[in-house]
């Protein structure tokens, strides 16, 4: 077994009011993997990601990012993680280019390196013509591209994509797929959450199904299909999620 990009042990989180979001989740994502986290709404996918990056405060458990404790060594751990969140959350006071450069600054990337990286990503995401535009004037698809470029600005080793293609047109979806595949081939570990099962089937080498705050099953797409006698991931999903309920 190779190095673990993400190792989660017995992660627990109950929200005030009693809602159980994570009921002792353990999960290991090997370095270089394209990993899918699937589950119905409210299953705990976003809480899991948020717990790793410090947006949620888990009640207990351990999280390591490439061997660094995500809580006690949070600076080192967070520098290695990029997040493209489910909801658009761009700073409305900044232009497209500033969004990328300020993000790099927040993550401690030196100026020259940040400028070069910003150029590269502006080109890659066809945003160069919009670099001086304030982000709140962009279309939805463009905002999504900026979110994506921003997550990559500090050259993370582990990328969280939380529903990255929600509300994105087909053309952009395919070009994003192509790009994240390319990134993964270049060694970037990716953890993707999605509602589109064909997206997971298309992209992910390994999948964990989460339901009611617990990992219901985990394996490669082929393994899961075999185990559940299913012809595609959708069938697996329905069986696992239904059984877990």
């Amino acid at each position: 077994m190779g190095e673990a990009a993400l190792r989660i042990e017995n992660l627990r989180k109950t929200y005030p009011g009693g809602l159980l979001a994570l009921g002792g989740v353990s999960l290991t994502v090997e370095a270089g993997r394209f990993f899918g986290l699937l589950g119905p709404n409210g299953a705990g996918k976003t809480t899991l990601i948020n717990s790793v990056v410090g947006l949620a405060r888990p009640d207990g458990g351990r999280v390591e990012v490439f061997g660094r404790d995500a809580f006690r060594q949070f600076r080192e751990a967070r520098r290695m993680i990029g997040v493209s969140a489910q909801e658009i959350n761009l700073d409305k006071f900044l232009t497209v280019e500033e969004t990328l450069l300020y993000h790099a600054g927040y993550f401690g990337v030196p100026k020259k390196k940040a400028r070069d990286r910003a150029e590269e990503l502006l080109e890659r995401f066809a945003l160069a013509g919009k670099r001086k535009d304030r982000v709140n004037t962009l279309s939805g698809g463009m905002k999504r591209r900026v979110m994506f470029a921003r997550a990559l600005m500090h050259n993370p080793r582990l990328l969280f994509l939380d529903e990255p293609t929600a509300g994105v047109d087909l053309e952009l979806r395919y070009s994003l797929w192509e790009y994240i595949r390319e990134l993964n081939r270049g060694g970037l570990t990716i953890l993707l959450t999605t509602h589109y099962l064909e997206e997971a089937e298309e992209l992910c080498e390994e999948i964990a199904l989460i339901s009611g705050g617990r990992i219901a099953d985990q394996g490669t797409t082929e393994e899961l299909k075999r185990k559940y006698g299913a012809s595609d991931l959708e069938e697996v999903y329905l069986k696992v999620v239904h059984d877990a309920r």
Binding site: Y15, N50, V53, G54, L55, A56, R57, F74, R75, E76, R78, R79, I81, V83, A85, E87, N89, L90, D91, K92, F93, L94, E98, Y102, H103, G105, Y106, F107, G108, V109, P110, R150
Partner: protein
């Protein structure tokens, strides 16, 4: 900690924010100050003439500057944090390698700078009316910086704790404005009845206004040096409150 690039970047962003919306942040405040100077200074000033041996307009200028400094400082950080939280772009900062204390300090120092800029602006606006003479410039910078820091830190705390817009306006309208107006900007505390005199002594803005007046004009109701000590202590307490609010406030790290 303060030389850290992530911290410096967030502070720079805070400065960029208020410079970018200067029509909302800088111009109205200075415009209002001119109105104060005209109405209270020129119109009423012809009746009041002198307070503590100083022409009325000169007497009120330090207080107006400090009042603007205080409101500018706390409005800046409270709105900046609240907006970032409401539109969730604060997440980018919360998941960065910055500590909560660094985040708190960056927002607070951004507001401090805005407040000081407002205070300086009012003093400059006052130059055509009263000229420019400052008795103790260093004391003025110190008292201005500490006052701006206190109210900016309170603004950071308010922005972090607020869950609705009216929570922010509540702080401005119910706490800051009355304290500022009753902070001895327009009168000497000696002119008040005993009960109000005691109440005024409990108002932190009164102490800072009084110290600023001493720094500029060399006259004051109280000895300004103990005030510096008190204000320093208040700055530390306010920072503590802001830090706690950023780490534990609702809808931040849940």
């Amino acid at each position: 900690m303060l030389a850290d690039r992530p911290f410096r970047t967030l502070l720079k962003r805070e400065i960029l924010r208020f410079m970018r919306v200067w029509m909302q942040t800088v111009v109205p405040t200075l415009g209002t100050s001119v109105l104060y100077l005209v109405v209270f200074g020129l119109a009423l000033g012809t009746r009041i003439r002198e307070v503590s041996g100083v022409p009325y307009l000169e007497y009120i200028l330090p207080g107006i500057a400090l009042m603007n400094l205080v409101t500018g400082a706390h409005m800046n950080s409270s709105w900046s944090v609240f907006d970032a939280k409401r539109e969730r772009y604060i997440d980018e900062v919360l998941i960065s390698p910055m500590s909560d204390l660094q985040i708190t300090l960056a927002y607070t120092l951004g507001g401090t700078l805005r407040g000081m800029l407002m205070g300086l602006g009012v003093l400059l606006v006052g130059v055509p009316f009263v000229g420019l003479h400052i008795e103790h410039p260093l004391l003025l910078v110190l008292i201005g910086a500490l006052s701006a820091f206190i109210f900016s830190a309170l603004g950071t705390a308010a922005g972090a704790l607020a869950t609705r817009i009216d929570h922010i306006s509540l702080l401005t309208n119910v706490v800051i404005q009355p304290l500022a107006f009753l902070g001895g900007v327009f009168y000497s505390v000696d002119m008040l009845p005993q009960a109000l005199k005691v109440a005024t002594m409990l108002n932190p803005i009164f102490h800072t206004v009084d110290a600023a007046r001493y720094a500029i004009l060399g006259i004051s109701d109280l000895n300004p040096y103990p005030t510096v000590g008190i204000v320093f202590l208040l700055a530390i307490l306010a920072l503590g409150a802001a830090w706690l609010a950023i780490s534990r406030g609702p809808n931040l790290r849940y």
